[in-house]
């Protein structure tokens, strides 16, 4: 019936011990203002907690934020936790203070998109929309 115009659902989380949540909250609000349903987990979550929440909430994508420099360890850990849970249809996107040379490595580890402080907001929103559209194609043929 009207299942194709139901809002996209995404989860925004902060893995690791980094407590700087300004970026994560900014993105969560921007997504909300773009019509997304955003589940926010708060700071200091383990990759496994984030994945368990994403599964229960049936989100199409997970957005991770890291400003502490631990992204090379934590972002792939979320991808790995998804794999362990047998999930292959939830995209992982990440953002934060991430050096150019780390981006390729993150993408190779399965992070769909990586955003840095210079990324325009619209690019980020479009990346989330894309991830959600793909998820919808898989589940609502």
């Amino acid at each position: 019936m009207h299942n194709n115009d139901s809002p996209f659902r995404v989860l925004i989380g902060k893995p690791g011990l980094d407590g700087h949540d300004r970026g994560a909250k900014f993105i969560a609000r921007a997504l909300r203002d773009d019509g997304f349903e955003v589940i926010y987990t708060g700071i200091r979550r383990t990759p496994e907690e984030i994945v368990a929440a994403a599964i229960q909430e049936d989100v199409a994508a997970i957005g991770l934020s890291s400003l502490s420099g631990a992204h090379l360890r934590l972002f792939p850990a979320v991808v790995e936790a998804l794999r362990k849970a047998g999930v292959n249809d939830i995209a992982v996107l990440g953002g934060g203070v991430i050096p150019e040379e780390d981006i390729r490595q993150l993408k190779e580890a399965g992070i769909a998109e990586v955003f840095t402080p210079g990324t325009p907001l619209e690019v980020i929103l479009e990346a989330f929309r894309n991830a959600c559209r793909q998820h919808r194609e898989i589940h609502q043929p």
Binding site: M1, H2, N3, S6, P7, R9, A28, R29, L31, R32, D33, D34, G35, F36, E37, V38, I39, Y40, T41, G42, R45, E48, E49, A52, A53, I55, Q56, E57, D58, G86, V87, H139, Q140, P141
Partner: protein, 310 residues
């Protein structure tokens, strides 16, 4: 799709977290599989489970109290479901669902099933969606299933009617007893909880409420429960009172009466929800210069000729 659906039903039967989550989405989005999902649920579990409503103003500590209560219930080995309802923006349709922040302590516990749900600006339909989520969780062995919602606005108050028992949470510093005496606040609640009792003003608030409750029919209902949700203080007592009152309601027939009326509410909500797209489609076809009420009656007469004696 057929195979997917069978796998989903199998998963629901096995209490698989992904299947439960997927099923709630399909029903919430009114997917064509909704009916098969809902009719295949374990009705015995749905009937026997306890449905609790937790409501109160923003910031009184509903999510923290829920989390604290869940910790207690888990220590008793109960599998718990939580449907956390937050408002959608009426402008963009988006929502920030933040109740999980207070509940992440249970994130890795597969016997704590949490689902955040946005009101999606639905006039109706919210009870239908929330009711279905409660049913899906209850069928998977969750008891209690807790519906947590901000107690403002008609649709949120309606959701509370889905519950067998309702806890109203208040906190000091949010207005005097006149606020609490306003229609709807005390009368909707079976149990009153003053949270943040370690804060200034809690004693006065509790006394005012106790005065307002004098003359209520049974002991649990005329008490004010005092909690500090962040530390767990007062939670055990509250949990005992919930079970006592639940037992009283079940033996007096009140439980069945409430289930019956919440079922009616859900059915009407679904009917309106299912009718809405048809009405909108019909409206596209029709020239409607007339007065809205009259047009509405004509529309209904065309769609459901049995219903209207025009």
């Amino acid at each position: 799709m057929r195979n997917d659906l069978n796998a989903l039903l199998e998963g629901l039967h096995n209490r698989d977290a992904r299947s439960i989550a997927r099923a709630i989405s399909l029903v919430e989005n009114d997917h064509e599989a909704a009916e098969v999902i809902l009719t295949s649920l374990d009705q015995q579990n749905v009937r026997s489970s306890q449905v609790l409503g937790i409501t109160g103003s923003p910031g009184v500590g509903k999510s923290t109290l829920t989390s604290s209560l869940v910790r207690h219930l888990r220590s008793q080995g109960k599998r718990v479901g939580i449907v956390a309802v937050d408002p959608s923006s009426s402008i963009t349709g988006g929502a920030l669902l933040g109740d999980r922040v207070r509940m992440m302590g249970h994130a890795l516990d597969s016997d704590v099933v949490v689902r955040s749900m946005a009101t999606r600006g639905r006039l109706g339909g919210l009870c239908a969606a929330a009711g279905a989520a409660v049913r899906i969780m209850a069928a998977s062995g969750c008891s209690p299933v807790i519906i947590e919602t901000v107690g403002v606005g008609q649709s949120e108050m309606d959701i509370i009617r889905l519950a067998d028992l309702t806890l109203m949470v208040l906190a000091p510093g949010l207005g005097d007893e006149i606020q609490a005496m306003k229609a709807g606040i005390l009368e909707v609640a079976d149990l009153l909880v003053v949270n943040k009792t370690d804060c200034v003003g809690a004693e006065t608030l509790s006394m005012d409420l106790e005065a307002a409750l004098r003359g209520r029919k049974n002991a649990c209902q005329s008490r004010v429960f005092k909690t500090v949700a962040t530390t767990g203080q007062g939670i055990d007592e509250l949990a005992i009172a919930i079970d006592e009152l639940d037992a009283i309601c079940r033996s007096s027939g009140e439980h069945d009466r409430r289930r019956h009326s919440s079922l009616e509410l859900e059915i009407v909500d679904w009917a309106v929800e299912l009718l809405k797209p048809r009405l909108l489609a019909e409206l596209q076809e029709t020239a409607y210069p007339a007065e809205p009420r009259q047009t509405a009656r004509k529309l209904l007469a065309r769609l459901c000729p049995l219903m209207i004696d025009t």
